[in-house]
């Protein structure tokens, strides 16, 4: 299991290969990469990501731990950047490996849903003349519900 919080850009393909190379007998590898995209209104110059050092690592470790408790994972990887990013750069990445594809897919979606709403990152979109904090979507909080329902 590996968790990295960094400002440096990373190479998603190289990370996927390094992750896969270390696996023993995990037939299914799922990855998610989040990429900086333009705002709905267009004209985005950069994205600034603020985070809460200390709590960030702790929160992500807790989320990964919970995923391992729920699914039989061979391995999991989370990389999340902070600082100033420009469009088309990777923001973050999750990878999961399991013997069966359903576990790998579900665990990756679980990690994403929780990282989105429970890891202390805040995104700000910087335009040529304005800047605005990205608002959390109702759907993001709602997405957690599907995992809670399973626990019973």
């Amino acid at each position: 299991m590996s968790v990295r919080v960094q400002s440096a850009r990373f190479d998603a393909g190289a990370e996927l290969n390094a992750f896969s190379a270390g696996l023993e007998n995990a037939g299914a590898v799922v990855s998610f990469t989040g990429v900086v995209r333009d705002r709905e209104a267009g004209g985005m110059v950069a994205m600034e990501i603020e985070h809460y050092p200390g709590m960030t690592e702790r929160a992500i470790a807790g989320i990964v731990e919970e995923a391992r408790r729920r699914w039989d994972l061979a391995d999991a990887l989370v990389i999340h950047r902070h600082g100033r990013l420009v469009p088309a750069e990777p923001i973050m990445m999750v990878a999961t490996a399991a013997r069966h594809r359903l576990a790998a897919f579900e665990a990756a979606e679980f990690l994403m849903d929780y990282l989105k709403s429970r890891a202390p990152f805040w995104k700000k979109e910087i335009g040529p003349r304005d800047a605005a904090w990205v608002a959390a979507k109702d759907g993001d909080e709602a997405a957690l519900g599907r995992w809670a329902a399973r626990e019973q």
Binding site: E50, Y52, M55, R118, A119, P120, W122
Partner: protein
């Protein structure tokens, strides 16, 4: 003494990323009320508590969380990672 941390627009409204606060507040809510009384900046930051999240010693908590023994309280908007 409690370290208060502010992130995103909470930080911008208060004008500082963190500060040490001398307080005898028993809960997060009492701390919020105390800060609101100190300066209008806090009033602006804490105007709508439903738009805020709080972490006590780096764990997400409610505004009713007790502060006894706590070192660090953070205020921020809903997270937008991923």
């Amino acid at each position: 003494m409690i370290d208060c941390l502010y992130f995103a627009w909470v930080r911008e409204r208060i004008g500082a990323p963190r500060e040490r606060v001398e307080t005898s507040a028993a809960t997060v809510m009492e701390l919020v009320e105390e800060l609101r009384g100190r300066d209008p900046r806090y009033g602006a930051a804490f105007a709508d508590l439903s738009a805020l999240r709080v972490a006590v010693d780096q764990e997400l908590s409610g505004f009713d969380a007790p502060l006894a023994g706590v070192r660090e309280v953070a205020f921020f908007p809903p997270m937008t990672g991923g």
